[in-house]
């Protein structure tokens, strides 16, 4: 069975292609790309997908998702998280290891991958733990994890405080060509803080997390990457200092990459004035200076990828006092339109924006995806860049509703998503 995606604007960052093209899929692979009308013939065996007015891009890849299964299935499951991902335009997601139990061994990895196969929607790439039990004491078994299918290691959510352990992780992970994802946070400096330290925390009397808590660890992990020759990926960069450190170490040739989340490049701490617990995230949403630095880092390539840090929580964790609320917000179903705001603002070209959601994340985790190349799996996302809509969290596929973007007017909607040539999501009620 063949599919012809016809009449769209094809954006393929890996090849630099940004032009009106048709795209032909045969079976589960990309067969060919070509100028409009040059591919295939109208026949009963070719299903035509009309992409008039749409962008045709590689399936989006999220480096940073929390699927909550096993252990907290009331917040999210591999299935519901995959549904949310597909609805957000993603065909691949990396799930963080801080499940219960944590993904520090092949049994948990196998379980997640089995659930993903049952869901049969997006590709799920598990991230293994850096340390056994994410306790920050002993290395997890990276060989076993790699064999089972993990694409990176991270103690996300629980920063590695022991610098010696981080050093050894960066060394040992090289044997298995695994990047080490750093949740950069000095836990002593962050203390029991709940928001960014600045004038807003001073006004609100909320305990604070200084930018320095992130900066010192980004500096440490970049130094350790330099020392070991290992590959470090800085998760959810939130501070201007962290952006500058990544920039400097990249210039020195150290193997460091970085991601930023839509909430960190969209919101500032001023939004916390009403104590909305959906804005309680770690690292915290910081000042306008940090926001500008992150946007600049995305524009100049210091920040390679946009990742959601999709962190589902139920009302049990969120309908409580700000101090008691859990950290995290969901993001899979708003990441794309929030990214397109940066295009509207002229900070990123369409091609650069898509690059940070496709070919760059693929490169970071070392998978041959994220580009529209004949012979590769047909993971393709169709986007209506002009369609405006109002965010309605009740309609989210995610099991959780903890988004601060409820009611926002956004532009750019996922229309159709194919993985391995199979349609895994179609927006209903598209007229015209």
């Amino acid at each position: 069975m063949s599919k012809l995606i016809r009449g769209g604007r094809v954006l393929d960052p890996a090849s630099g292609l940004d032009d009106m093209h048709d795209l032909l899929i045969e079976g589960d692979k990309i067969k060919d790309l070509g100028p409009p009308g040059t591919l295939g013939k109208k026949s009963a065996s070719v299903e035509v997908i009309d992409a008039d007015g749409l962008w045709v891009v590689p399936g989006l890849i999220d480096l940073h998702t929390h699927l909550r299964e096993p252990g907290e299935e009331y917040k999210e499951t591999v299935l519901t998280g995959s549904q949310a991902a597909a609805a957000g335009g993603f065909t691949s997601i990396c799930c963080m290891p801080n499940t219960k139990p944590p993904n520090d061994n092949s049994a948990v990895t196998d379980f997640i991958l089995r659930r993903a196969a049952e869901a049969d929607l997006v590709r799920v790439f598990p991230v293994g733990a850096i340390s056994q039990g994410q306790k920050g004491e002993m290395l997890a078994e990276y060989a076993e994890l790699r064999e089972a299918g993990v694409v990176a290691v991270s103690d996300d959510g629980i920063a590695v405080m022991n610098s010696q352990l981080m050093r050894r992780a960066l060394e040992y992970a090289q044997v298995f060509t695994l990047p080490v994802i750093s949740h950069a946070e000095d836990r002593d400096l962050a203390g029991d803080g709940v928001m960014h330290e600045g004038v807003v925390s001073t006004r609100l009397g909320l305990r604070e997390i200084p930018s320095a808590a992130e900066d010192v660890m980004v500096f440490r992990d970049c130094c350790l990457a330099e020392l070991t020759g290992g590959r470090v990926h800085i998760a959810h960069v939130s501070s201007a200092g962290a952006v500058e450190l990544v920039r400097q170490f990249k210039a020195k040739g150290v193997q460091v990459t970085a991601e930023a989340t839509p909430h960190h490049f969209t919101l500032t701490d001023e939004a916390l004035e009403n104590f909305d617990t959906n804005l309680k995230v770690n690292p915290p949403i910081r000042s306008s200076v940090d926001l500008t630095a992150i946007q600049q880092g995305l524009a100049d390539g210091t920040i390679d990828a946009i990742a959601t840090d999709h962190a589902p929580h139920s009302t049990i964790e969120k309908d409580v006092e700000f101090d008691y609320a859990a950290f995290g917000m969901i993001g899979l179903e708003t990441a794309l339109p929030l990214t397109l705001r940066l295009v509207d603002q002229g900070l990123l070209s369409p091609l650069k924006a898509i690059e940070k959601l496709t070919s760059n994340p693929a490169r970071i985790i070392g998978v041959d995806l994220g580009r529209l190349t004949p012979g590769l799996p047909a993971d393709v996302t169709l986007i209506d860049p002009n369609r405006e809509f109002t965010v309605e969290v009740k309609q989210f596929r995610s099991k959780s509703r903890n988004s601060p973007f409820q009611g926002w007017q956004l532009r750019g909607e996922t229309v159709t998503v194919l993985r391995d040539g199979k349609i895994i999501f179609t927006k209903k009620n598209i007229s015209g």
Binding site: T202, L206, E208, F275, E321, D323
Partner: protein, 309 residues
């Protein structure tokens, strides 16, 4: 002018005219507390719930006396004697209280923003009786009333707030209140207890009390919580008392008509020496007295007057 707000969550949300209305109303209520029979029927049939998640003597008693002098029915719920210890959430407690139709819920809570959360979920008026390190609006109002009584105006006065600013809801509410009313606010305290960007709140920031005492018309000493010693914020209470505490020697540099205030409870010999606390400049007990009047005024303005719904 009418008071149109449903809740009193903080001073930040108040206009100067609203603050003046509260103070003027409080002044008229003060007389009631001097009568032999200290009770008027203004709030008869109204229900006030005092929901206290933190220990409190002064504030809670003050609220209760205020409500009773206006003939409201009052109920006290404290965290240690209620279903809160059984793990009930604030919102569940609120929903259950709401089902019993109270007119006002007075909330004291250790978490900043708890009254805001409560106010979004109940019809009753919510009065913030102190939320974490955020605000303690009735304390600031009674402080304003005390300054106004003693100094006639608030505008143009120089107020020095000394001590642990970072952890003080009293300091935050007073900074809002005093700057809104046109006072000049100086703060002094150890650097570890001065929060980030404090100057952006419209105050002048110093470290040593000597730098602010000579200029001050009013000195507000803040309570130092004894557990701060274990949090790397100060080396010892001894050193704190020597450098940042108010004693007669430091007070000798002050203006001759200076007022000494303290929100209580005081740590005698730590942030304030007994001689100063009990001395001629101290208006600490006037503050307590004014607390009842301010809280009566608030209850009256929130639920006593005729409102166009």
């Amino acid at each position: 002018m009418q008071f149109r707000k449903k809740d009193l969550l903080g001073i930040k949300q108040l206009e100067p005219e609203e603050i003046n209305l509260i103070l003027e109303t409080a002044e008229t209520f003060k007389e009631i507390s001097t009568r032999p029979i200290k009770k008027v029927p203004t709030l008869r049939g109204r229900t006030v719930v005092h929901l206290f998640y933190e220990p409190s003597t002064r504030t809670r008693t003050s609220f209760e006396i205020a409500a009773k002098r206006l003939s409201a029915d009052t109920f006290n719920i404290s965290a240690s004697t209620s279903s809160i210890v059984k793990g009930e959430t604030l919102l569940d407690t609120a929903r259950n209280l709401e089902a019993m139709n109270p007119d006002v819920i007075v909330l004291r809570h250790s978490a900043a923003g708890a009254p805001h959360l409560l106010a979004r979920h109940v019809q009753a008026s919510v009065i913030n009786a102190g939320d974490g390190m955020h605000e303690h609006p009735t304390q600031a109002l009674l402080d304003l009333l005390t300054i106004k009584e003693k100094k006639e105006t608030i505008s143009g006065q120089t107020i020095a707030i000394i001590g642990d600013i970072a952890h003080s809801r009293v300091a935050r509410s007073n900074i809002w209140a005093l700057t809104k009313m046109g006072a000049r606010v100086l703060v002094a305290g150890p650097t570890t207890m001065i929060p980030h960007d404090l100057d952006k709140l419209g105050v002048e920031v110093f470290y040593r009390p000597e730098d602010v005492i000579p200029e001050a018309d009013v000195i507000m000493m803040l309570r130092i919580q004894l557990e701060r010693q274990g949090q790397m914020l100060l080396p010892s209470l001894r050193e704190y008392a020597c450098i940042f505490g108010l004693n007669e020697e430091k007070l000798s540099q002050a203006k001759p008509d200076v007022l000494i205030m303290h929100p209580g409870p005081i740590n005698r010999g730590v942030e304030i020496s007994p001689a100063v606390a009990d001395g001629p400049y101290s208006v600490i007990l006037d503050q307590v007295n004014n607390g009842v009047a301010v809280r009566m005024a608030l209850l009256y303005l929130l639920i006593g007057g005729e409102k166009d719904e």
